[in-house]
Symmetry: C2
Subunit: 237 residues, 2 copies
């Protein structure tokens, strides 16, 4: 792949986003996964990892400001709504809506293992793109971008419509703070056909749940564990 | 205490910070601890808790931008430096330097239990003040404020001079994410006069350390536990 071709690709993406006079090099950096930079060292490209760090902070800040000024929520509610909207599952959805995957620069291994469709990779690149917009165009353009692509998810989170996938949330949480995935254990199947599931982290019981299906019981267990973590955080805050 | 008197107090604080045309009402809100708002409901004041949430996000963002653009650090290093600078111990030090405690509005109970000197209360109010500056004066003034009061701590963190109080950091970390304090257990005092300490969270061993004094052994134990948490977070990120 030649420099020209991915310059064109980045320009196409910028145009699709409707941003004028954006720094193309910054956008290329936002689209450049570490696997691509590592495979093409002769191009001397920086990957999007540093931009992602900055974008993560910009996103948290813009969402906090929107929730503070436009909705006047309590700090506990702001925290919950923000963590729902800034979750990997929502950011990867938003990334798909702006067709971010089509423009990503991936190494061969990552491409072959379906990297273009990975939630984590898309969510990270989304944050990097936000940082690139901020650095090139300033805070107002970054805010406009977020309002455009995430406003509907904020509204959904506020009205409780946002699909509450607690297993995803719990996993994101435990991965981030403990570096571990939760483990679900099916207990007895009771006489009344109710499933009972316990969820563990590192051998420690986090919560349990019941439901008519195994899936529902797991969601319940994840919900009870996730809410315990949030409450711990809140009591301390 | 009359409305006039704390309006004057907030104005004095604004003047001491050298900020022009700042919204006094916003500054009063930043200085208003929940204990004061709750005790004086007739004043109909909002406490600084919502501002603190916003200020926390602004601080993380401003520090990320400084570390990204001025120092060009890797994401792992940005993350470590930022968490050192945005820690309760550093923010409360910065709050003391600008004499924030003198201007805080506290309820009687909080005042009597030494709230004006509490690290957590000072650090929270520092973040609320930052948010008030941002909302009243914009991003540039907020950045200038941070550069003025925190730049030296960034430099110290970068050069490794920042006193690495690992016990404080570990406690901040476990309180935030687990709602629990670590517990230190002195093990044997060995023949060569070396102290050996283990640190536990919720009965689980986090790390251990040795040193010529009990204090040094505890710092070592806290360091090993804290670094494990950071590495877990990084491997996953």
């Amino acid at each position: 792949m030649k420099m020209e071709s991915f310059t064109k690709s980045a320009e196409k993406f910028i145009k699709a986003l409707g941003i004028k006079d954006m720094d193309t090099e910054l956008m290329i950096r936002a689209l450049c996964h570490s696997s691509f930079a590592n495979e093409n060292t002769f191009l001397n490209l920086e990957s999007n990892e540093r931009l992602e760090f900055l974008g993560d902070a910009i996103l948290d800040f813009i969402l906090a400001e929107i929730l503070y000024t436009e909705y006047s929520l309590s700090e506990g509610r702001m925290s919950k709504i923000r963590s729902a909207v800034a979750s990997e599952s929502i950011l990867s959805r938003a990334a798909r809506e702006i067709k971010l995957g089509d423009f990503l620069l991936l190494g061969k291994g990552e491409e072959n293992s379906g990297g273009r469709e990975k939630d984590s990779l898309l969510a990270d690149a989304f944050e990097a793109v936000l940082a690139a917009i901020y650095l090139s165009k300033g805070l107002e353009d970054a805010k406009n971008f977020i309002e455009e692509v995430l406003k509907k998810y904020i509204e959904q989170a506020l009205s409780g419509e946002l699909v509450m996938d607690y297993k995803t949330r719990l996993q994101e949480y435990t991965q981030k703070f403990f570096g571990l995935r939760p483990e679900y254990r099916l207990k007895n199947k009771e006489e009344d056909e109710t499933f009972s599931v316990e969820v563990y982290l590192d051998g420690k019981l986090l919560g349990c749940g019941k439901g008519k299906t195994k899936k529902k019981a797991e969601q319940q267990a994840a919900k009870s564990a996730y809410e315990k973590f949030l409450n711990e955080g809140e009591n301390d805050a």
